[in-house]
Symmetry: D2
Subunit: 339 residues, 4 copies
């Protein structure tokens, strides 16, 4: 394994891009952040100044053409992910792409093919796979420690709804629950979803429902090993960011997820009190660092990332089936999970 | 309020009947167990001897004709509940009936009408309403402490599957999930279920699926206030009896349920370890006592029980819709929840 | 074993007496509360009316002379306990005595001798021995599950200080920490305390310190198996009644005690919140019932109670050494723990 | 504030030195590890190669003479700390010194004076001050959230005893409990210890007791605001590294510390199970990073570190009093805590 420094380029300097940039610049031994690209005027330059990065581009392609970059972190808007993956693959860069990797299955297939053709690692930002509790649970299930999975649950609740007017279509399935769909696959290793049924609504911001916005959803999912799962999302948990998982099998159950900000507990006149985590980047900070460390390891060794393009496609297939289920009001088969 | 001793009669001396009989005989101040009826030879006599009860009957009607009895506890097989309720009402007895109170909505309507006509209290054995955490959660939600409910969850996992061959048809919906359907209504006060969708299977005992047996189920439920709920059951949790609830609203979340047998925690070379509860009658012992105390109070005061015949009907309406959803493989409207 | 009903008499109808009376009258199968004695005018009659007890006495001796009584519950002021035990033993009654059984070691020895001479069971109100977590911990330690005990902790914090002016002398050692001294012996089975050192003060009610009142204390205790323990008490925990234990050994640690009122947890905008227990009689309710059940069992079988007169004496020996340590400001040997 | 890169030098490349070196090299934005000194042949070079550090010295003074270094991390054996602090101050370097900063109060005074004379920041490795739960608890107490502290507890249990034969004298007080003495001061802000009493023994390795080795200790501490504290240590907790704190006051209680390795909980046939943390560097990893970040901030701004030389001296004064208490078998006044 080469111990040479890995040079990373960041595409997209918004909230998640800034966070990944900070992580890459500060917390990944053996890697450095070399360049930042963002078409929004001044955005890349501002972040570059903050992180001490020299190269700034407005066009992603400029960054992809930069021969000093080994791998790229794609944190642009979701709609552009697949094309950026394809371009990055053609440029021979290793690719870390925030979820969702693609919006359509066709896009996903082309992105996977491009990375395969270019023989570059393609990792997707399914950060829960790198959270210690979820990772250990996955290994426990894979080792048979709870027998055969029969019931699963994964949920995501964001702390506060921002600007539903600007929300991309089907965001609850394509950008939020996509995490849960991947988590359920991760906690049920080897199995694939075959059918979904959705109940969803705009309960927080009902005025936006007519524009296609949904902020609350429950999905029932049937897997090909018989296991039945639920995924659940909501965009406004006043108590903070809430990510939990559960897998129940013939020999036991595993639960993951805690809301607690630290191990401080207060006992006061009005009862017991503890603080919660407010941000995904706090709650899952270690997982965010671990996934970039893993990406850098894969760039070095050429190993296939633990959260792959195929994983992205499988989760997307569930999300697409959810959209169809919601539109038709009935259960829908998941297309081509095994494609 | 009269402080006169309340005399109870028990119909059914099987597992639950014996447990209710013991509770009535020992733990309900101001009440006593006066008679036991069970058609199984020797069953009533055996329990009566154990509990120091004088009167033993083989026919329930004999017990209903006994003028020394103020109220009856019906713990016979589920299929006989509704007819026993009707007979007990006609005999002028106050009625505590184990869940389910009825198997069909028509039966339920007739049972409710009979109790109303006779002006006798009719309480159903929805014990979770009397568990401290679920009760407090209900009151919190009713007081608006978590705003408007948006997402709910209730689950029941029994510790061990017994004799699926002898299991009544649709037992998972009619006898197990009926608790969860009631709990969801209890945690979403004032709202009623309008639609259900079921995924269910025989994963523990697949050989019995062809005979109509189901041991694992997930139900998605839509309520008329927009809230979306899941109910979940499984018949073999190797770690013990598992009953939990969760209600998430616009202003917060409440969770209920613990597996721990006591507040002892062990820290050993292989990690942290704690014991679990194995039996519903252990986990919910205080709730079982509280529901009978409430019944005796209602007998004294004439107050309408907190778990009423109408509650039983509403939960049954959900269970019946589940059966239809399972048979048809599609979402089904809940019939007449507001009837 | 006789299944005959056990008739109990209660001496003392104050707060604890009323609670024990209620428990005896309502929650102990096979036993009934037959008589109540209290010298305070009207006190016994009031409780007797509430509990449906027929016989009321003003003099304890009247109750002891009552041939219809099998066992007595002594819940009079602590200073009278030992003489009441002796009188009860002479009257041939089985004895349950609230802690402390005696105030001096000489008294304790005479009380033990009187019960032994009369061959009547003598049980002391060390209720933590009957709390499930403490009981299981004791059995775990006895079974060697955590190896040899090396460090122990037991604490008691009362929710609110009542009337320090009326407080008996050394109440924190003789009436509060006496529970912890017994608990430490219970969690370190077979070992005896050999030395104590006390730091104590009146921090809640400093005005009473000059009158000999202490409301806060820490005791370090050395046991003859090398284990070192701390016992800790305070009379004003604003969050509720707090009883916890910990035993650490060469093979692991056990912790006992929880403040939670139920398994309900709230997640709100200001964080995670849960309710606490406010009263010892709530927190330890099951233990209070269990100790009286055990007493009734011992009355029936003649078995030696699990919380014996000798246990009371051993805990008292520690308390007396604490008083001496506090007065002298130095470590003090525990007298005659093995007497 | 300068944003110039801070260049750190490490003195001592043993277990803690290697860990601090790794942290400095990888996890402290705006700082880099420039040189390593260790007299053990090859030790500095090995670590330098691993961390990509260029300069290697065998003599600490060589590193102190290096003009390219802004601050030093002292992780040499405890007996050399004070002299290294003095030399580093004379060389004008900012100083982070692992605990204990000194072994005698005279040494401590000279170290503090040297840093003051040289006007360099002097920080001591009391990492718990930088753990989120302990930090928040400190701020809560300082803000009066639990009223006046009355009872405190701090404990340290190491996972496994290593080579007691090579253990420095009084290691349990000077190197282990020194953390707890500081923590108690931190949780009782503004108060100082005035008296201690020790019970201690060699229970894990009794063969070494005659050589002055102690592996188990309980310390009772009286503070000048009336609060009473216990500190507790043991060198062999089979379940892992155990660090906990508790502060109880007139308005509530705070507890800190958790053994759990992650938020994964397993529910299996033999009960509930969770993994523990095994190493201090795992359990307190974030605190170790935070303390070095704080040190680098102090180097930049000239601010006085939150864990100062005076804090080190105050904790040492308690440790020295403990040694005296153990030797004399009686309570001992803490010398010059306010010096």
């Amino acid at each position: 394994m080469s111990t040479q420094n890995i040079r990373l380029g960041l595409i997209g300097a918004g909230r998640m891009g800034s966070f990944h940039g900070l992580t890459a610049a500060r917390h990944i031994p053996g890697a450095s952040l070399t360049a930042i690209a963002d078409p929004t005027p001044g955005q890349a330059a501002r972040l570059a100044a903050e992180l001490g990065v020299d190269k700034v581009y407005t066009e992603p392609q400029q960054l992809l053409d930069d021969l000093d970059i080994d791998g790229v972190l794609i944190a642009a808007p979701a709609r552009s992910h697949a094309e950026l993956v394809i371009s990055a693959a053609r440029a021979g860069k290793g690719i870390f792409c925030e979820k969702p990797m693609a919006i359509t299955l066709d896009e996903a297939d082309r992105a996977i093919a491009a990375a395969a053709d270019a023989r570059v690692p393609l990792q997707v930002g399914f950060n829960r796979r790198f959270a210690k509790s979820f990772r250990t649970a996955h290994l426990d299930v894979a080792a048979g420690r709870i027998g055969t999975p029969q019931l699963l649950r994964s949920l995501t609740r964001d702390p506060a709804l921002n600007n539903p007017a600007a929300s991309p279509q089907w965001v609850i399935f394509l950008e939020t629950l996509i995490h849960d769909f991947d988590t359920l696959r991760y906690l049920n290793p080897g199995a694939e979803a075959v059918q979904v049924y959705v109940m969803a609504d705009a309960l927080i911001a009902p005025a936006y429902k007519s524009k296609g916005f949904l902020d609350t959803a429950v999905v029932a999912i049937r897997f090909d090993n018989g296991a039945i799962a639920t995924a659940e999302a909501n965009f406004q948990a006043v108590y903070g960011y809430d990510v939990r998982g559960e897998v129940f099998g013939s020999e036991g159950m595993l639960t993951m997820g805690s809301l607690n900000d630290s191990d401080l507990v207060r006992y006061l006149a009005h009862g017991i009190q503890a603080d919660t985590q407010r941000m995904d980047t706090d709650l899952l900070r270690d997982a965010y660092i671990a996934e970039l460390n893993h990406f850098v390891d894969c760039l070095r060794t050429g190993a296939k990332p633990l959260a792959s393009g195929e994983d992205a496609r499988a989760a997307l297939a569930i999300a697409r089936a959810c959209i169809e289920s919601f539109e038709q009001g009935k259960p829908v088969a998941v297309q081509g999970a095994r494609a």
